[in-house]
Symmetry: C2
Subunit: 229 residues, 2 copies
């Protein structure tokens, strides 16, 4: 008890909502707590902010320590500071939203002696603290943002088919999209590069592979172009 202040201070933590995508579902990464409170319950990865790191750095560090995941897209989501959200004391949490390529992180690393696992977004267990609320917020933010910012690519491997991209939007927006209209629209934006490669190991006609051209996207954006699905 050696850090003393003139006025009381809330504890400050970060929590990470990490989304990934596979062939079926949108998934979220959770850890199982091995300490009270909520021992044994599933929760969002996160922890205390240190004095020598920014909030973003804290979120990255906690994610790495608790799940082994590094180098992912991350943006600030929301800060929650209701009274009583942690039974021990006043805790304010800055929540972050991350998107990862599940193909790169298929195996969940579970350091810190905790358990970590991916859950389909529609099949999440009861969560500790107010993490269910934070998760709902993150999901809404993702649904909103994916439509006018090209962040969906963060969930796909570098090379992907139009089918995969369409599936991504269908899963996130939770509604079917018309194949021809989707292709027409996304190709007309001219932010994808057609590669000299096609899918492999599929039991049907192999689809063309594309990659997202961020430089071109940035150039277009400067000229007033607006991404929108």
């Amino acid at each position: 008890m050696k850090y003393c202040y003139e006025y009381p201070r809330p504890a400050l933590t970060v929590d990470c909502v990490v989304f990934g995508l596979d062939e079926e579902d949108l998934k979220v990464l959770l850890i199982q707590r091995n300490l009270p409170p909520f021992e044994g319950k599933w929760a969002l990865p996160g922890g205390f902010v240190r004095l020598d790191e920014t909030l973003e750095e804290a979120a990255r560090r906690e994610l790495q320590e608790e799940t082994g995941i590094e180098n992912v897209f991350q943006e600030q989501l929301y800060t929650v500071g209701e009274l009583g959200r942690d039974p021990r004391e006043r805790v304010v949490t800055v929540a972050y939203l991350s998107l990862v390529k599940l193909s790169d992180h298929q195996v969940t690393a579970a350091t810190d002696a905790r358990n970590a696992a991916w859950f389909a977004i529609d099949d999440v267990p009861p969560l500790a603290f107010d993490h269910a609320k934070i998760l709902r917020l993150a999901h809404e933010r993702l649904q909103g943002k994916v439509r006018y910012q090209p962040i969906g690519f963060e969930l796909l491997p570098a090379k992907f088919t139009l089918r995969q991209l369409q599936h991504l939007y269908e899963v996130i927006l939770d509604r079917p999209l018309d194949k021809r209209n989707f292709r027409k629209k996304i190709l007309s934006m001219e932010i994808l590069v057609e590669l000299d490669e096609v899918e492999t190991d599929v039991a049907h006609r192999a689809a063309q592979l594309y990659k997202f051209d961020r430089k071109k996207y940035d150039r277009l954006t400067k000229r007033g172009f607006n991404f929108e699905i």
Copy 2:
């Protein structure tokens, strides 16, 4: 120095970006600091979060104490936690965005022995801390959000003319809008109620007064209606 913890904690504050609108400009409410650091400099109203209040409550309280303003629209903007943003110690700030009807708050109350004043958004003095960055963020958020959420009405008196409403969007979005198209669009949404009143004290034909019908807006929104300018 009687509040002691096992690990060091950043200080936690809230800052408020308060926008108002008059006949010419979008304005922001600033206070003049009367204590170091940045003594005498202009800054966003704000202060320390207490343990017995939520972040929203802290923002409302600080705004009331420093400027006298109460009962305003408020939403969370962003949380900044860079190192060195306060020269004294590590401070994390949750920034809030508020919109007020300048007609209701024409006189700026300056309690706490500070000075407070409205500044045109294009004519803001140098600000303390990283408040210029926070203000820029708030302005961008307002410009983005005003187009797909009916928050602009928070800046107008309860009864307003279509001219005032159009002016609001022109000032915030910083571009001219076509009068006929604007009227057509906003009226076709059916979220305004035409009142049995017209403007008074104008040296030309008096314009029809309208009010925003929030209940109707909420009903339409539930049915999938999307506000968009």
